[in-house]
Symmetry: C2
Subunit: 353 residues, 2 copies
DNA sequence: TTGTATGCGTTATCAA
DNA sequence: TTGATAACGCATACAA
């Protein structure tokens, strides 16, 4: 009713229960040991009556720990980041942690600033989905023994738990599917590598596959900068495919693997501009499933990442470390799932339109 | 080099500068008044040497303020929420605030839990994008004088600053466009209203428009629950349109307004299942622009919300309140922007395929 | 203009 | 088993 709504403190509880603050604190933190049942009851009642709950701030000041987890993400615009964030936030919350968010908005050099800001709030650990271009503060945090878990992107020089899609597997899965669908001329399109580990790994995996299947396919890759470059690359690809594989089933139709959802959309745009039809003049398979993938043209084939799982797993790793788990850095790679749709249905078994 | 990396405190600075802690604190907080230049220099040097920065936690404990802003969002899965979050986080960061995130994952009854968790960290104010089904804690916070700003969704009984798309304008814009394109039979499809103000307002605005233009159009609305219900509604709509407007230019083609991006996707799916072509057998206009809208079928016409702006504006409102701005609750409605694409190009002036 | 002392809400170290 | 009491890092009323 009145205006004075000061949250009750440990002192209030102590007074109400007729004991000392120390006793209340003990009840809270070491309930099991050292407590006469009678006093315990009184304290418990007082806490209930006053609706008391300890101030995390004061606890943080005293203990140096805060029940806070810092989450810094390179670009919250990226739907993949959001999906991970979602899983991680949920898992943290369930474990009694709150998430402090720092979004770098793709300014790679602000990473240290973010970590420091978060550090000053005594976050207990970090989940990082960043480039690692600005690793100073991360190394510092690691050195101080603050647990860090990386999602999706490794940092070189930072040997900590790492959770990610199994990129090797995802690419192999994609390539095998395209092979099975009759495509013989493949191209991987990624954003500029820019030292982002996921991009590098996907490209490497693609190279590996093409190398070990050199008798069946040929492949190349492009780092898509601008839309005109992308269009040129696609034209060149189709030229090669026509020459190389005339007579094959599927008649010289090439296929593109888009290394993430952003690229997928750009390829879709380019193909539209060229007036080609997905699944006819060109095959397309995108890494990252999206809600709209089924409805573009004949449907876009994708490899779906288990995004929420990735987020949850990341949080769990961190929380285990927070609870004292020791041991070498772990690496947890989750498998992607192939979603076959119309954009890769040309070729063997399908009649060209 | 060594392991002991204790952040330096105000006491360290004081010792280093040969002054008292109080003096250092004064330098930090009241630099302008009360300071001999000589001492100021010494303190400043010491701070620089030690790389000192104050602990926000300790400050929060002392002042009751924390440079923290609590952001609670109904469902971070929703791209619109993310876009707003992005703008808000950015603006907060620029103003020296950090964001604590609480995602309710669409569990409407956890709102109070979120506010309380955030409150205990002494966040200075709240940005809410929630249903308001569980308003207890919000009312409590407001009563305590903690500023709250609502985005996109009003809470009844909570008379605070509110930032949103101008729903009335967006719907009128949509309707006028459809009218101009020759559509005469309109239908608004929303998610179940569920007391969500944005949905209610859009529906109301639609009714208003239809009423005041009763001589030109007829319209109805549907709350889409499941996919089969949606399909039935679409069939019925097309039936009505065929009967009502034979002979009209555009020949009895109806149009649908999808009240948000989620609904848009569901309509797209339903239309695909019916084997209709967007822009031919049916018109479609969605509220919320998305990166994929141009590439579905002939392109989906949309009304784009200025999402980042909404987020930034929301944060600015809150920060103004934090800086002491008084006065009645404000309402800031931003205009949406019409993006015309192929899904609404049938009708007058366009020849049916 | 500067320093001393106190308290913010906890936890932890001592005695009792 | 419990209770004073001293920190944690900072801001401020008061004294100097």
């Amino acid at each position: 009713m009145t205006k004075n709504v000061r949250r009750s403190t440990i002192a209030d509880v102590a007074r109400q229960a007729g004991v000392s603050k120390a006793t209340v604190s003990r009840f809270l933190n070491h309930r099991d040991t050292l407590l006469s049942p009678e006093i315990a009851r009184r304290v418990e009642a007082a806490i209930a009556q006053l609706g008391y709950s300890p101030s995390p701030m004061a606890q943080a000041l005293k203990r140096g720990r805060s029940r806070l987890i810092g989450l810094v993400v390179a670009d919250i615009t990226n739907p993949f980041s959001v999906a991970v964030l979602r899983g991680a936030e949920q898992a943290c919350r369930e474990a009694g942690y709150l998430v402090m968010l720092f979004n770098m908005g793709n300014e790679g050099d602000r990473e240290s600033a973010g970590l420091q800001a978060l550090s000053s709030y005594k976050v207990e650990g970090f989940i990082l989905n960043t480039t690692g271009h600005d690793p100073g503060a991360a190394l510092e945090a690691a050195r101080q023994g603050k647990p860090i878990v990386l999602v999706d992107r490794r940092h070189e020089g930072l040997n900590v738990d790492f959770v990610s899609l199994d990129n090797q597997h995802a690419i192999a899965l994609s390539c095998r599917h395209l092979l099975g669908a009759g495509y013989r001329e493949l191209m991987l399109i990624t954003e500029p590598l820019d030292k982002v580990s996921a991009r590098i790994e996907r490209k490497q995996a693609f190279h590996d596959f093409v190398q070990t299947h050199a008798d069946e396919v040929s492949g190349c890759d492009v780092e898509a900068q601008d839309q005109t470059g992308l269009i040129e690359a696609l034209k060149a690809l189709r030229g090669r495919a026509a020459v190389a594989t005339t007579g094959c089933p599927g008649g010289g139709v090439p296929a593109v693997i888009a290394a993430n959802a952003v690229v997928t959309l750009r390829v879709i745009e380019a193909v539209a501009q060229l007036g080609w039809r997905l699944g006819h003049e060109i095959g397309l398979l995108g890494i990252d499933d999206t809600p709209w993938a089924p409805y573009i043209g004949p449907g876009i084939s994708t490899v779906a990442q288990p995004t929420t799982e990735l987020g949850r797993l990341t949080a769990h790793c961190l929380i285990q470390r927070l609870q004292g788990l020791d041991g070498p850095a772990r690496q947890m790679l989750l498998k992607g799932k192939l979603m076959v749709r119309g954009s890769t249905r040309t070729g063997r078994g399908a009649e060209p339109a």
